[in-house]
Each structure stands twice: as C-alpha cells, then as structure tokens.
Amino acid sequence: MDLINNLKEVFEIEGKIKNDFQIEVEAKKELVSSILLYLKNQHGFIHLNHMSCVDWIEDEIFELVYIVWNPNIRKTVMLHTKIDRNNPEMENIDTIWDQANTYEREFREMFGIEFPGLVAEREFILEGWTEMPPMRRDFDTKKYAEETFATRPGRENAEDVRETIVKRTGEEIPDFAKKYSRD
C-alpha cells in the first residue's frame, strides 16, 4: 500500500492491491517507461517477468501488461496501459531490460504494434507472411487454415472419429468406448 501511495505522489496512476503478492497499477502510455525505470531503480523491482497484450476489439483498444518482480520482498507489480487499436504505437523499453526485445518483436509480428527504435529482424516465427497479423481477433484462423492447407478428405470437420465411422457404416460403438462418446 505504501508503494501505491508513493507512486501516486510521483506519477498519475490508479492502483489497487489484488492479493498478498500482486499489485495492479494502471497508467497512461507515455508514463510507462518512467514508471518502470522508477520501480527498477528506487523500489527494487529488478526482474521483468512477462509482457502481454490483450485485444479489446469492441472498445478498439490494445491493452499492454508489464509484470515486474522484486526478489527481496517477493511481490509483483502488474502495469496496464491502453493503446489505440487503429494506429498502435508504443515506446521501446529495450534499454531497461534486454529481454523486452524478444517480447516486442513478437508483438510487432503477431499484433502489428509498432515500436519505433526497436532493432530486430522483421521475421520472427512466420516466414513470408503477407496477411493481417494473426493474433488479432478479427483474423479468421480456421478459414485461413482450410483455404491454405490441404485437408484429409473425409475429415474436414473435426468430428469424433468413432461417431463418424458409426454414422457412415452403421456399426455399433463397442462397450469399452461408450463412456467416452459424447451422447
């Protein structure tokens, strides 16, 4: 709680305690790198656990989450920010922690968020990808998979194999398999 009060004196944030070891903080996107640097230097949150991105397609917002950890008092701070979905840009925190390079590279490929100043190769996991960034919620992955990759004939919808065979040939499901069928 002192931590949230201390942060409120210095920055303009909203925070609450989630449970014994997790603190949630929300801030605007321009303050993120300053808050992270302040937490790292002044309060001992020296380890970047994870960075994650949530796609709120109804509100047209990407929400970025930064999770940092203090090994002395064993607490994590989860920092949320919101970015505009139609023109996503975020500041590069590569200079604070080196591992953020890989996370930001993944966001750039999978969500389409631009990080000006990020020095990394464009292609990460997908090679020669020309469509929409695939982790966005308006990318229909099932339709794309059916169009691009050749399917096994007879298995286009992922039905249960035994029930398909029963419908096709009229056999009986054996006794030992009855408890696994969906009927």
Partner: protein, 213 residues
C-alpha cells in the same frame, strides 16, 4: 485428372490458384506392385539387409521427439532390431516426422528429405500428420503430410507410446520385405505435383533450381 503444370520453375500465383490440385496422394507404400521380377533372389537378400539395419536420422521435428529416447534406451530397446541413430541425412535411411510441422520446419524437412539417399523411408507419428490433430485450425501448421512429402507408415496416437513406435517399425520392415517401401523415385517422378503443393504454402521459396539428388 488434374492440369499438370508444365514447367519445373517457380509457378506464378495465378498458375497455382488455377491448377486443379488433385488431392489423392501420389506416392504411398500401401498396395504398390513390386516390378522387379527379374532379380527376385538378389532383391530378397538386399531387402533382408535393408530391413535389419535402419539408420534413423536424429532430428526431432515436433513434440513426438520425446518418445524417441524412450524407445532407444534400455526398457523398450530398439537397437535389437538394428535401429540406430545417424547424425546426418547423408548417412540416414529413415526420416521420422514426429508430430506437427509448421511451414518454417516444412521447408527444412523438404531440404533434408531431398538430401537423403535412395531407398529412403518416412514414418509419420501422431495425429497431426494424419488430419491436423490438435492444431487443425492453426494458421501455421499443415494438416495432411503426404501432400508435401511421400509417407510410408503412419503411427496413430498423440504421442504414440514406445510399443506403438516399435510396431510401426515392424510394419515398415514388412513393407520393405515385400518390396513396397521407399518412395524416393516416385517423389522424383512426380516432382512438379509436390512442388505445386509445397510452393502454395511456403512463401519465401529459395531452393536452387538444379538440386543435387
């Protein structure tokens, strides 16, 4: 019948979309007729040697690679069948595709498959190679393996246990004894059909024109 593409160069986008791709696989090992009738005794002896010493390439392409050490070590000993690991594709006979294949891995697997020397066999593990398995709606994994490289034996499971793996090897041994396994020549004959399928999903195609078989 399908409209075969006439050139073995890189076909354009329109050509790929226009070609009616015939979805039945070209090279399988089931039910193939062995046409070496004149050299029966020699082929019998050579097939005996081929089936009792299989060099497996030590390349784990997917999540099924975790069953390979279990098969090779003391409890389910695979070395008593003559199966041992080989380090490079030039020395190997059998390529194990253990599980799902993303498009990035598929490009490398095709290169590895073309470097192996005849007669060469492919064993496909798991349900991802049969019909897409758990990743049937993924934007990055293939759904049916034998449109891209020819496959001899499929082993069902997710992942198959070592007993199933050994049963798969024994099935491969029976196919070799009848002279039905080994699809390297069939791959070379139907190369443009395979290339069409491969180039449809591999976007950054940079294989050399004259590949050294």
């Amino acid at each position: 019948m399908s409209n075969k593409i006439n050139t073995i160069g890189i076909p354009t986008e329109e050509e790929i979309k226009k070609a009616q791709i015939d979805f039945s696989p070209r090279c399988t090992s089931a039910g193939r007729v062995n046409d070496k009738e004149t050299q029966k005794m020699v082929e019998y002896i050579l097939n005996f040697a081929r089936k009792h010493s299989l060099f497996v390439l030590a390349y784990g392409t997917g999540c099924g690679a975790i069953e390979i050490p279990a098969t090779m070590t003391s409890r389910y000993d695979a070395e008593r069948f003559g199966i041992r690991g080989a380090a490079t594709p030039r020395q190997a006979d059998v390529l194990l595709i253990t599980g799902y294949l993303s498009t990035k891995t598929l490009k490398r697997v095709i290169r590895v498959y073309e470097q192996m020397q005849d007669p060469k066999y492919v064993i496909a593990f798991g349900s991802c190679t049969i019909n897409g398995g758990m990743y049937f709606d993924s934007y990055n994994t293939i759904k049916a393996l034998d449109r891209y490289i020819p496959v001899d034996v499929y082993i069902a499971g997710c992942m198959p246990r070592p007993e199933s793996v050994i049963k798969g090897f024994i099935k491969l041994q029976e196919l070799i004894k009848d002279g039905n396994a080994g699809n390297g020549e069939c791959y070379r004959d139907n190369l443009d059909w395979y290339r069409t399928n491969q180039q449809k999903i591999i976007k950054n195609w940079d294989f050399p024109d004259k590949y050294n078989w």
